[in-house]
Symmetry: D3
Subunit: 249 residues, 6 copies
């Protein structure tokens, strides 16, 4: 089920069977010369929607938390960020809303490495509401908060290493661009040239430093390799892994 | 252009022509027995995307700000809210990010009546950054911040009054449900019965009061009238009005 | 009763009969060449005090929340604003304090159009404390939060339209200046000339833009029409309407 | 001049002569069996207004910051408090607004002992905006922030010790009740009996503890001694001292 | 006991006997030409540790809250400050953590005059959690929050006045420098000359003003008098006073 | 140099040579039956101080940021946590203070795995001050923000794997307990028995869950192996690695 395309009575019924929800979470930030600004939000959304389509009863997918931590990309037009403190407050509100309805298991399905720290910090902030209770255990339920990056599933990692033995990279990776091309083939940028072919690697600081060190936005990648067919394989592998993981959740 | 499906060099080019951006903003909240929880986020997104498809060079559409002010709907499963203070902080961050790139005109295209107050409050918070400058004018640019509800365009208002002379309503309206059915026809809930046929009207307070006064979630509406064809008309009318408004912006 | 001129045992007694309180809320901002900076705080205060004087047992009036949302007026000396996030926090604290004592009905009696959005946002923030409760209903009481602008009473609207068929305006209105002249006749500015006689109208943005577009501060008004006698009529009409509204509250 | 009864051009003119402003600041809290809830806000307001009346060109008085730190009084109906963090944010906004216009000297004229800590904390928060500047001195002006309690003027202290050799007290003092009776003689509570005649003294903690230790709200005082004539003397002495202090400011 | 050198089972056992804890709180700020930047944090830490060593069963000492309110010292390299709002939030978190374990009595043992206001403000913020409870008394325990400056013990005051009849001063005092020299004799700066011998006195504002008015950082003191032997006497006197005070707490 | 034992003129001189500072950062939380509550703050402090002692001119060590993210340990008496949002605000204030003096390179030397996420989030929050600048580069300097865990140095990792081939663990590790025993040999808890000898491993959630799953607080470790001699080796290896790393910083 997709939460945003469901009615409230459908969610009420769903809650009788499962207190788990999958929340795609990404970022809105430059992805080099041929990657979409929305790549990191689109990837987990595409994969989760694919999983839902193949097994609608086995998964409930929330709307995508589509803007995350991207301050280091602000040197490139179109990037949008939340400050970590704002992101923590937002995730807290999303969670408290869903807890009101009875949800207890939150699977944040992440598409952006730069989100990891703040997601984990938000988990502590959320848990602190119960941990700070003077009696040691208030009447809030215990919550299971999990973050999973779509590229960390074993099967997906194996696949992208096989597809892109060189130039997979760390930002604007060959695999994430493929995933978005698969979902939005009409928006492919197929004729973009990049130099150097494989982007440099290095440390990430603030927006000024990032733009100076990584002039076209990529880190370590050659996304000219990306294509729809690879994207299909990656989405199928990841969606299958997601469904398996949720079944165990 | 859709920001999330564009590359950063494309946005850089776009900024040379226009400093304006359209941001669909909605809510994730119950919409009665046959409306999607995502209705208020989907409507402005559907309309903006329709406009963009018909005139891609004339409009830049940001990703949807998809969770808004819905505390009064928390009595119904699936509803998600931000506290107004969180929403203000988020809108501030979105704006400051885009201002960094040179954007100066922000057209928040709204799908939820309950968002209006907080959006306007956020505008004051954003403007206060410049208004508080000790010298009277800092080196921030003056910003144009506009909020427009899609149902307020003259042509749209005329249309929905004609389509639904009775039972259009105030929440889970016949028109908004039609708009989402047009975009997601496979998810239509066509056989839902409602009683009373036209929902009651009244005041809105907190979640407990709302659920007691409006037991199935609707206010004043009969959305059993909603259908794909009406949705098409509404979307086309609204998209046309949006493009005209943006041309003048 | 006036809360600030009452003792705590008097308020304790009052609470046995009524859990309602009226809170005048205004702003501290320029009101053109002949209007007081305090106009928007003074108007609801004057009217509420008048009502209280005529029927002290029927109404409990809190001290005035006298600084509100006025960032757009900061181009004019003397204007003072809260950021909306600060105003929300303050209204939350006022409310939580009064809830502690048993108050459940809050009638925010407003004197400033620019406050409306933030007051409504604050209501959501206040309600969210109860709506976010994991059990669906905590042991907080349900609160009735109402905002009423003094100029929106039917009888008042009829009166000011009759008194000022032209040049009533939107900011530094003829009627609000009259109300303050009635209460503070010694402070009248009777010899101020204005040009144009009726001020321009337009959109409101930040402080720099406002000062540029509305050079003497007024919007659409000719407050040279204002006088003590009109003020008396307006105050009496509004006070009567307030008492009737409170009786139904 | 009273800011709230002045026009913006009058304030603009005033700023050419003086960059100083007096802001009465108080609290809304129980003051025992015969003291007004507004006592702490009323006292500095009454004194400042008296000073202004006698020498309108020598002083500019802002509207009263009328709700302060009163959490320990919340056990008594009618008391209203800000959390210190909210009060700091509010004082910051008031100051930043006035700095925008060119004010540089802020004389917070205080009526509540419980405000002292938070006022001083707010001063640090305000100064930190300039002190945190990476260049060591930003383009903000240096601000003079002063807090003065009206009862600390030498002449006032001498007077109240002479008027009330016993039972002046620390909360709901004989002198502050007299000041308010002088200004609002019709609201005097002249027949209230108190037992013990002089209230106990002790430490102040939270609201539950305060109510238990000081059952009628007073600390160390016998305000049955209060009267209009004493109030007149106190107001005149304090107003004179205020004007002298401002002349040196 | 020292909390940071204890195990959790030891603290569990301790809580069966006493719900009190001593928290040294200081600041990290310049202390003139021969005083350590850490002076204000070190003094209460040194004294508390000395007390603990002499009577380990009679006192539980927390780790030092070592950065406080020092914005006015930011003109001098090495000074570190929290904004008061941050300090309040931190003290709230420390307290809520310890309340979770059963602590109810908090003795903040202070080494910095500039902390006093914010510590007191934090106490109000902490108490407000219980005072805001709608039922008048929630299930939080009543807390005893105390702030004591180490130099305010009668015996200590007598001693430093005797040791330093002139030039004790207000900042970078002769006594506090002696206390740190006693604990860290190897770090003494014994050959520093100062001019004037006794530093000037005056008002404290922001960092720019402070540096201009007090060029070497001292206020009213001559810390060239400081020495290890005086430090020993001061530490012993203060530690003894602390233990007595805690026994009564 | 140790910042807290230096004078401000010494720091001023130091800044002429280096703009780098090392800040030990830890946590105050249970460390099993024989580990100190302060372990995570003590370890980086001990190591940094050891490094400083051996090469005082090569390193500047700040006071320890001694309370971090420990909400999951609140089930065990003595643990103290900051909420991540508070920790971010504190780190921001520390940084802004030091930037005021000219520091540009911040080496946060970490002793607690649970801090990693929030430290990284704080870095984004700090950088956002410059990244949000409307002109793309404000007059703040670019900052180098680095986090290093003391146990991640290659030489240290090799050493603890050799010292503790089994039962090193993840929390209350054999190596960290040894480090603190080396520094505080008198506080060793040498006769504590643990069962099972090697603690269980598992996921970390909130405080209630943690205490249920890890009843004595340890995760995966057998710290009965810890001893002073191992601690000496670890401290020496880590201090040497720290100095080398700082030389390259």
């Amino acid at each position: 089920m997709l939460l945003h395309l469901s009615t409230w009575p459908e969610i009420a019924t769903r809650l009788e069977q499962s207190k788990a929800i999958v929340i795609p979470i990404g970022s809105m930030e430059q992805h080099g010369p041929n990657g979409f600004i929305g790549t990191d939000a689109l990837c987990p959304e595409i994969i989760a929607n694919h999983a839902e389509k193949s097994a609608p009863d086995d998964i409930l997918v929330a709307p995508t938390f589509n803007v995350g931590c991207a301050q280091h990309h602000l040197g490139f037009p179109g990037s949008i960020t939340l400050r970590p403190s704002t992101m923590i407050a937002s995730m807290l509100d999303w969670t408290n809303s869903l807890v009101r309805h009875g949800f207890e298991k939150f699977y944040w399905f992440n598409g952006h490495g730069g989100n990891i720290a703040t997601i984990e910090a938000a988990f502590s902030e959320i848990h602190a509401q119960r941990s700070f209770d003077p009696r040691g255990e208030d009447n809030r339920p215990g919550l299971t908060l999990r973050r999973v990056n779509w590229w960390d599933y074993k099967s997906v990692e194996t696949l992208y290493k096989q597809l892109y033995p060189t130039g997979h990279g760390m930002h604007a990776t060959a695999s994430e661009v493929s995933v978005t091309y698969y979902a939005y083939p009409d928006h492919q940028k197929s004729d973009v040239e990049m130099s150097p072919k494989i982007a440099p690697v290095g440390r990430i600081g603030d927006a000024v430093q990032y733009r100076a060190d990584f002039p076209d936005g990529r880190i370590g990648s050659d996304p000219t390799q990306s294509n729809v067919e690879d994207g299909r394989k990656l989405v199928e592998a990841a969606a299958e892994a997601l469904l398996k993981d949720i079944a165990r959740f």
